[in-house]
Symmetry: C2
Subunit: 153 residues, 2 copies
């Protein structure tokens, strides 16, 4: 299957992919390493917090999103990386047992002015749980190689 | 030592903290779990990429920042969580052997209109390497309890 390159991303087009089963062990392992706040490690503290129960760190949610994004999307493209993130909204807690998936929409696309072999595509990413609730809403631009300029297709 | 509450965050005030030694093992372990793109796992692919060598996933950089933020700052405050992130810029690659630290500035602070026990403080966070280069620039708002409304101080 040919890889997707910059030319393939048309504003308004959407894609769904991914399945990520969230476990208590992973929530605690991530929090122990990167976000050891009591609300992500201790059930009692979590119940007293705004999360209402032990839930994933918001940054951990971003990481789970990135795994689905890599496996289900970027690995099939001429992705060259990303300069950053324009916005993240942690809309609902991510709990143990949740089953997550991804949906994205192409917002806009522009060829690079300075580097003719690449372009930037802006996406609206949504991570959903098993109830169809959007738990994470994220916007960022990703660089892709142009097929016409030699990106492997 | 009393914890910092909403009332303590004055726009313009700055703080520095943290020390995080980046290792090749951690870069590969993170990438294997959350961002398995060749440029974060394979030295050859990394050299051909814009990173110029094996470097941490951008999301991994955010995680390392969060660890320093938790240990050096949030654990000493009445932090109640955060609604999201306003902007992340991955300005330079983070390589094995880098020694990272944090600097932040309070941008603005506003009491919640709907919940009188808390307020939102907007920060500009910068993660620096051992050369003083800013490798990650991040802006977000964090919720803090008010001392005057019962937050543990």
């Amino acid at each position: 299957m040919p890889r997707l390159t910059f030319e393939d991303f048309k504003p308004g087009t959407a894609m769904t992919y991914g399945r990520y089963v969230v476990t208590l062990d992973e929530i605690r392992a991530y929090a122990s390493e990167y976000d050891p706040q009591p609300m992500h490690l201790d059930a009692e503290a979590a119940h007293r917090s705004l999360l209402g129960g032990l839930a994933a760190s918001g940054w951990h949610s971003c990481c789970m999103m990135m795994r689905m994004l890599t496996d289900g999307f970027l690995s099939k493209t001429s992705c060259m990386g990303a300069p950053g993130v324009d916005e993240v909204r942690w809309l609902k807690p991510v709990y143990p047992g949740d089953v997550l998936s991804m949906r994205h929409t192409v917002v806009s696309a522009r060829a690079s002015q300075s580097k003719p072999d690449r372009g930037f595509v802006s996406f609206h990413f949504e991570m959903l749980n098993q109830n169809g609730d959007v738990v994470l809403d994220q916007r960022n631009a990703i660089m892709f190689g142009l097929r016409d300029k030699g990106a492997e297709a």
